[in-house]
Symmetry: C2
Subunit: 347 residues, 2 copies
């Protein structure tokens, strides 16, 4: 089968990989309909995190079930499904506590299952717990794109908001205008935030931020951004700061703008982040977050996508196919695209 | 007037200090009835934090209002009051958000007001916002001791539990068996925790922990404690870990026993604490806490003390008077006492 292969820094190619197969009776194999490139894939592409050359890559995809193992009962061949970026049994204590990314039997794609999401087929372990069937069959391209965000970025933005405890009437700031940051705006609005300050320097992203619910845009960075947001909040800071980047600069900005008593919700994979604990302790500012349990959030977010209440698929501003993987990565790397969608097959 | 004076490491004496006076029209002067020694005073006593020789010390006291400034309307001479360890206007945005220790006009005792709590009189700034009147006048010594804990340790233990989000049915672990840790047990039980694991090596503290609601005692420390608590929780960890010490070892233990998705509630003044952010991020474990806004918690805790529902005054196992300040400190320093109460005057 065809799949994306990490060849080295700045070099991801489509090549031939062994066909996905059922290895455990709890597995399914999914034929990929749509996949995409994640901001976290760029850490490897840019050489900022290690990745083994020759390994498959990608972890976001929706598709049609092609094979099922003998123990898979509630998922059938032909089902149209969403596959979260981490697989889980959805029954262990951590899953029951809502943290499916800490499932005691689970793992991450592609490290734990052997196939990358950017390919024609993917083996999905613990298929009954992991995959979520999509009702209906005749979805528009727009809805499909939004369903694709539920595999990661929409659920991840939501997790930032949930981790920060966003509630009705809050003033929220979102640090990061990538796909996750933009989805965090949707999430904050959905949870009732009254004022949403987006930190963004790019006009196209500012537009989308406003469309998603941002009420204020701050173009500054670092100390100047902190100053601007303090001014917007009468010197007090925001009720919830959502950190959606993972760099130390983004995190320090989030801490500085968080008001006393608030929690910084963080979902950006941390790179060189230092927690200024003494400082945040004395201001009663906390930090909470991690790999988003998107499986746990899927039912409620799926309902809102299907009803048209939220349209996170708008983050895809480059749509191409699997063979154009180089451009899909390059456009995101060069910030020409917010997020690249790969059309792989028809439903 | 007589008051405790920090003379140097290991040396706190009663000496003469200038009488407390009204300096601002929003001040009150309180005649101290009971005061006490805090675990945080020991940081200075032991030389682990800097303190200026000659300065007054102490921040926990209850007493009778002796003088009021011209702008103080809802507090009168003769009122029996509780004074939180931080003063606040109770009207600024941070106070309204429940973080009275971040009051934009507030400060800490004795740094901000000039008088220490361990003395005959104390000037209390922003008296209307800070002081809480105690209804009734004929309280038992037991009730008075419990009222005294509301100036700091009971509110601080409660803040650990609130910051960690303790809720009905939770399994909670309390790291630290000092007065704050013991009060955190009361707080966790009060918020509905079903199982409360106390980390304690001292028999007298273990007994009190059980009296306050601990269901399990873990005597081990460090890795062995983590192992023991993992075993008690089927390998998952606790729903809330309350860190009530402030050392790096206590904090690392709290992180290690916190289950995925949970928050470590922390109130121990941090000394050399390092946050292992990469590790806690990937487990979705957060941290939240700081100087407890005891003023905000006072009304609900006061009600429970007066009704006899909680008896945090039980933490005082050494009762003496102001002249015996040396023994009050030494007994706590040598762990002969959990907490030392100083009887200063009659109501």
């Amino acid at each position: 089968m065809k799949a994306a292969i990490f060849k080295g820094i700045g070099n991801i190619e489509i090549g031939e990989r062994p066909d996905s197969t059922i290895k455990e009776p709890t597995d399914a194999v999914v034929r990929v309909v749509m996949a995409c490139v994640c901001g976290s894939d760029l850490w490897y592409y840019r050489g900022e995190s290690d990745y083994t050359p020759g390994d498959p890559i990608g972890h976001e995809f929706i598709g049609v079930v092609d094979q099922v193992g003998d123990d898979v009962k509630n998922i059938s061949i032909g089902d149209f499904v969403i596959s979260p970026f981490a697989y889980c049994d959805n029954t262990c204590p951590n899953c029951k506590n809502g943290i499916t990314t800490a499932c005691v039997n689970g793992g991450f794609i592609p490290a734990g299952n052997g196939d990358g999401g950017q390919g024609e087929f993917v083996r999905v372990p613990l298929a009954e717990g992991t995959l979520v069937k999509v009702p209906g069959s005749d979805h528009s391209e727009e809805i499909l794109a939004s369903l694709l965000t539920l595999t990661d970025v929409m659920g991840t933005g939501h997790h930032a908001a949930v981790s920060a405890g966003v509630k009705e009437g809050d003033t929220v700031a979102v640090v990061g205008d990538g796909a996750v940051g933009l989805c965090a705006i949707i999430a904050a609005k959905r949870l009732g935030a009254e004022r949403i300050i987006a930190l963004s320097r790019y006009p196209a992203r500012q537009e989308l931020a406003k469309e998603f619910g941002a009420t204020d845009i701050v173009e500054e960075r670092g100390e100047a951004a902190v100053e601007a947001i303090r001014k917007l909040t009468d010197g007090i800071g925001v009720d919830a700061a959502l950190e959606c980047v993972g760099t130390n600069e983004a995190m320090q900005t989030a801490f500085a703008i968080a008001r006393p008593g608030s929690i910084v919700g963080t979902v950006g994979v941390p790179h060189g982040v230092e927690i200024p604990f003494q400082e945040i302790f004395f201001r009663n500012v906390g930090v909470h977050g991690g790999p988003a349990p998107v499986r746990a959030y899927l039912p409620e977010l799926l309902e809102d996508v299907l009803s048209g209440k939220i349209n996170p698929g708008r983050v895809f501003d480059l749509k191409t196919d699997l063979d154009d993987i180089k451009e899909a990565y390059a456009a995101m790397d060069e910030r020409r695209a917010i997020k690249s969608l790969l059309r792989v097959s028809s439903i």
